[in-house]
């Protein structure tokens, strides 16, 4: 993390010139350097050349699907990827996330949303550098001590509730899919049992959220998963 840390480089892979221009304006205004590619092939060859810190990838490309680009990329690179999709394609979003995308954004989107997501996926620090205590709202999660406090008072969570919360905290700001959570917490055979998640999430929200039915931090991404929103 030398020069790149000062001005992170974002590779934008999208076939629409207007979207690329808009992204360039938005991203440069937010302090990023921007590299563009208009096909999946060019995009892939651009990765080793310009060593981007993150990639914004459109799922609908003319030469190969964004999903393919993602799969190829993940064979040799861990660079964070934010995919852009159109609405009404939950399946594509889940597929992209499962294929290794770090987050998604639905078109049309606002620039604030875009920079927030980028910040979240860029924050991934080298292993070990992860802070052991993360706070959001009046909640503190101390992962070293395996302790959760709300307004200073300790909140008792069951093992599964804590594991779920921890997963969201580690990936805070990013979406965690149902599949990811179920695999991690219940093993690969439990992927269909999304009601486990719903039930546990209800309990976690009741313990942590001020208005459990209108959660501020532990957000649901319809049909996809959950996201921990810090502010």
């Amino acid at each position: 993390m030398t020069m790149a840390a000062a001005t992170p480089t974002i590779l934008v892979i999208d076939d629409e010139a207007q979207i690329r221009r808009l992204l360039r304006i938005t991203l440069e205004a937010a302090g990023y350097a921007v590299v563009e590619a208009d096909t999946g092939q060019l995009g892939l060859s651009e990765v080793p050349r310009s060593q981007p810190d993150a990639i914004v990838l459109d799922l609908g490309l003319p030469d190969m699907s964004g999903l393919e680009v993602l799969q190829k990329l993940r064979e040799w690179s861990k660079v964070p990827v934010l995919v852009l999709t159109v609405l009404a394609a939950e399946r594509d979003k889940v597929a992209a996330l499962d294929a290794g995308a770090d987050d998604y954004l639905t078109k049309p989107f606002g620039s604030a949303e875009l920079t927030a997501r980028l910040r979240a996926i860029l924050r991934r620090a080298p292993e070990g550098d992860e802070p052991s205590v993360v706070s959001f709202g009046d909640i503190q999660v101390d992962m070293a001590a395996r302790l959760v406090r709300r307004g200073g008072a300790e909140v008792r969570l069951t093992a599964k509730e804590y594991a779920m919360l921890r997963l969201l905290v580690v990936h805070r700001g990013k979406v965690v899919t149902h599949g990811q959570m179920l695999r991690e917490l219940w093993g690969p055979k439990a992927e269909e049992n999304t009601h486990y998640l719903r039930v546990h999430m209800t309990h976690i929200r009741q313990k942590l959220e001020a208005e459990p039915h209108k959660p501020r931090h532990l957000r649901t991404e319809s049909g996809i998963g959950y996201r921990l929103v810090e502010d």
């Binding site: 399946r91 049309p108 999304t194 719903r198 039915h213 319809s222 049909g223």
Partner: protein, 889 residues
């Protein structure tokens, strides 16, 4: 002047004929008076010319009979190899029709038009092959002698004494577009004959000598020339009819010929055809079926006669009546026939008189203004003597005779005891009573025997002097004679009444069968149901297995209908396809592929076949003419049905098309309005942006945001609707949290809800339920949006959810205090592009249609109701089941 105006029907008919002719191949006949005139030679020379002109031609079959000049002409012409057909240990070669059809040349040479094909060929006759070639648009050159023309065969036989076996129907010859008469003088021909250049198949030298006699040749030549002239004249007339649109039948004359099984009927048919041709009249051949069925042999001869008539161009009518004369007059009147042709009776006068006058007399009495032609028939050798014809064809069984004699015996015994008390006269009355009573039970033969036997017994045993056949007193003699006549005649009369009754019953049976069919067809709710009913009817009536093949709609393949009672074999399928393509019946009882198992009747609509009805019955069962007639009626009825169904479907499509056109217009109007409004806002706001001060800029940005959201909403709705309509919508059911869904939905429409006080009533413990979360989020958002758009600002909107456990469903309700929804509007509401009457701008009317589509796709329903105290209530119900256990930690 009005008389010269073309009759539109005639115009259409002649145009059709022309169109038909344009599509089919052209037939050119090289026509001669007898073998050896050089027809094949002329044909090959013409073919060489065509070949030089670059015409794609092949030789289908040409017989050179080893003549060198002819063989030389064959050189250079492409030949399609003949097909080998094994028949009774020998191999016959025939023209390979399939190969030629496959090859599809422009022109085929087919020698010897009248040739009979080897058994096992597709058609029994070569001219049928040629007709098929023409039908598939291939031109044909062929050769023919005058002796092979059906209607001239008799004349040739009378001239030369030689019977001609291979004949071509006049109607087929009538297909010829061009006739080239290959003429040669008798002298020249005899010269060729002496040089050995003439080949006559299988004919002894003596017979050939006789055939080629000068006088014969002259007569044959005249016959040939006249025939060609007549044909040309007919073509001319036809052409003229195309030109001036007058009917072909110049005089409106119509001939009717009575056809029976006798060989003289064959001549009668030919005579009538000649008569009709020379008058330019149409003609009908009528067969009258009596009460008793014909013997198999007679039936076959009758069919031959009828099919000859058909081939010679007659319309064939089969009717049922005991009274032939009445039947003929009836058919004549029905068909506007002006002349009736019958054969001269060969019955002895007394037979005719006994039977109520002969046919001619009865016709003359009843025919009114219809002319009657009586044509003398030469009796062909071996034909049955006509007066025997009145015998019942079906002999009564022996037990009937035994029964009759038994009854008479018993009566005689009883009479023997009674006679001392009552006298012999009353015994006679008993006998009479018995004879008449028996005639109600047994056939006319036994009745006749009973009459005669009882008369003799009465005389012998009872009329004095007894034990003699002598009658002493004059009164007794008179009595005996009267008895005899009364017994025989009343017995026969009763028998005839019974026969008539039976006939009537048979006719009624047929009528009933047709009636049942029509009824079944008209009461059926769908085509399938009707076909099913029709086929079952056919099964029972004909004792046959039935199958129906229907056109798949593109006219390319025949699909078997499921209602058929058997699966047809590949071979039968081939026959069916032939019948379908050629729009002619085929298979058993027909001229085409008669060796097939079933009879194949095409369902013919005006200009095309729509399917094929196949009746398949055991070999030993034959259908009578009347039954075949009925089978064809079945086919006609089915064709009408299928056509009706297709028309209905076409109408439906039309309606649908009109509807979708209307829809498209609405959509276009709506979409252009809906798209352009936010676009106009956007472009105006963006233009003003640069010059605006900070405060204005903020409000412009607000406008831009609103317009963008509106555009986004619109596009989403259109996409959703498209997804619904394309059937691509496949809900992914998963466990959903109602609170999550409602939060997401409310977030999405919060801006529009801002003007309305918004209340919710959602139980804290709302259980999880299975649904497609994305679709449900849309549904709830659309419900809220709908309420927000259609109610005045400031009126509250209320959202509730809950579980109706008794009915296993979960519900989401949105209520408002707007104008409400009148009952009449509610169903219409869910159709596309429907907007409430008080709709504010900002919607295409797709919202509710999408709600319903999404909810239905997930197995739920949408209900519209009235909010007590004003406003509308929309409730979405989804099926509800509890989720399984969540494992403990």
């Amino acid at each position: 002047m009005s008389d010269d105006r073309p009759d539109p029907d005639a115009l259409l008919a002649s145009l059709n004929r022309e169109a038909q002719r344009a599509k089919r191949g052209k037939l050119k006949v090289f026509f001669g008076m007898c073998p050896g005139v050089g027809k094949t030679f002329a044909m090959l020379r013409a073919a060489q010319q065509e070949l030089r002109d670059g015409v794609d031609l092949v030789v289908g079959v040409v017989e050179t009979h080893g003549r060198v000049e002819t063989e030389a002409l064959l050189a250079g012409l492409p030949v399609v190899a003949r097909k080998q057909i094994a028949y009774k240990n020998i191999v016959l070669t025939e023209m390979d029709l399939e190969a030629i059809l496959e090859r599809k040349p422009k022109l085929v040479l087919v020698d010897e038009f009248a040739h009979t094909n080897a058994p096992g060929s597709r058609h029994p006759k070569r001219y049928q092959d040629v007709v098929e070639l023409l039908d598939s648009g291939i031109d044909v050159f062929t050769t023919l002698n005058v002796q092979h023309i059906e209607s001239r065969a008799d004349a040739v036989r009378q001239i030369t004494g030689a019977t001609v076996h291979e004949t071509v129907p006049d109607s087929v010859f009538g297909l010829a577009d061009q006739i080239e008469l290959v003429d040669i003088t008798p002298e020249a021909l005899r010269e060729r004959l002496s040089e050995g250049k003439v080949y006559m198949e299988g004919r002894a030298a003596g017979a050939a000598e006789n055939f080629f006699k000068d006088t014969h040749l002259t007569a044959l030549r005249e016959l040939a020339l006249r025939f060609v002239a007549e044909h040309v004249d007919k073509r001319l007339r036809e052409l003229r009819s195309v030109g001036t649109f007058k009917t072909v039948w110049r005089s409106g004359e119509r001939l009717l010929v009575a056809v029976g099984p006798s060989p003289s009927s064959t001549q009668l048919v030919r005579w009538t055809r000649r008569m009709a041709a020379s008058q330019g009249a149409s003609w009908i051949a009528v067969s009258v079926e009596g009460s008793s069925p014909l013997e198999a042999d007679a039936q076959r001869r009758l069919e031959q006669n009828l099919s000859l008539a058909r081939e010679l161009g007659a319309e064939v009518v089969v009717t049922h009546d005991n009274d032939v004369a009445a039947a003929l007059v009836r058919v004549a009147l029905q068909n506007n026939a002006t002349q009736i042709v019958v054969g001269k009776s060969r019955n002895p006068r007394w037979v005719d008189t006994l039977r109520g006058g002969n046919l001619v007399d009865r016709l003359l009495r009843t025919a009114g203004s219809i002319d009657i032609y009586v044509v003398p028939a030469e009796r062909a050798a071996g034909s049955p003597i006509a007066w025997l014809d009145w015998r019942p064809v079906k002999a009564s069984p022996a037990h009937e005779y035994a029964e009759v004699l038994g009854v008479l015996g018993a009566l005689t015994l009883a009479g023997w005891f009674v006679v001392p008390h009552s006298g012999y006269l009353s015994v006679g009355l008993f006998y009479l009573l018995a004879v008449i009573a028996m005639s109600l039970r047994v056939g006319p033969g036994p009745v006749f025997v009973a009459g005669v036997a009882s008369a003799l017994t009465w005389n012998f045993l009872f009329i004095p002097p007894i034990f003699t056949f002598r009658i002493a007193r004059f009164e007794d003699g008179l009595m005996f004679a009267t008895y005899f006549v009364v017994a025989v005649i009343s017995g026969q009369l009763t028998a005839r009444v019974r026969a008539q009754e039976r006939n009537e019953r048979m006719r009624e049976d047929r009528a009933t069968a047709l009636f049942h069919l029509t009824q079944a067809l008209s009461s059926a709710k769908s085509l399938d149901e009707a076909v099913f009913a029709a086929l079952r009817q056919a099964d029972t009536y004909f004792g046959a297995k039935t199958a129906l093949l229907l056109d798949d709609g593109n006219g390319s393949a025949l699909m078997p209908h499921f209602a058929g009672s058997f699966t047809i074999t590949e071979k039968e399928r081939g026959v069916a396809e032939w019948a379908f393509r050629n729009r002619k019946k085929a298979g058993r009882f027909t001229d085409t592929l008669p060796s097939a198992e079933g009879i194949h009747l095409p369902l013919i609509r005006e200009d095309a076949a729509v399917g094929v009805l196949i009746l398949c019955m055991p070999r030993d069962i034959t259908l009578t003419l009347a039954q075949r007639d009925l089978a064809e009626s079945f086919a006609t009825q089915l064709a009408q049905l299928v056509e009706r169904e297709q028309l209905r479907a076409a109408g439906e499509r039309e309606k649908l098309l009109a509807e979708s056109e209307k829809l498209h217009r609405t959509l276009l109007d709506g979409v252009s309005h809906e798209l352009k409004t936010p676009l106009a806002v956007l472009s105006a706001a963006v233009e003003n942006l640069a010059a605006a001060d900070d405060a204005t800029r903020a409000s412009l940005a607000d406008e831009i945001r609103t317009a963008t959201r509106r555009l986004n909403r619109l596009v989403n709705n259109l996409l959703d609707q498209t997804r619904l309509e394309s059937g691509a919508l496949k809900p992914r059911l998963d466990w959903c949290d109602g609170h999550d869904l409602i939060n997401a939905a409310v977030d999405g429409v919060s801006e529009l809800l801002a003007g309305h006080p918004f209340e919710t009533d959602i139980p804290k413990d709302l259980p999880l339920f299975r649904a497609d979360s994305a679709l449900m989020e849309q549904v709830i958002a659309n419900l809220l949006l709908n309420a927000a758009l259609h109610t005045p600002q400031g009126t509250p909107i209320f959202l509730a959810a809950g579980v109706d456990r008794s009915r296993s469903r979960i519900f989401f309700t949105v209520a408002d205090r707007g104008p409400g929804l009148p009952e009449a509007m509610r169903e219409r509401l869910f159709q596309k592009f429907q907007r409430g009457d008080a709709a504010k701008a900002g919607g295409l009317g797709l919202g509710l249609s999408i709600i319903r589509g999404f909810v239905t796709a997930q197995g739920g329903e949408v209900v519209v109701g009235e909010n007590p105290g004003g406003g509308a209530v929309l409730t979405v119900y989804l099926p509800f089941t509890s989720h399984g256990l969540v494992p403990a930690e």
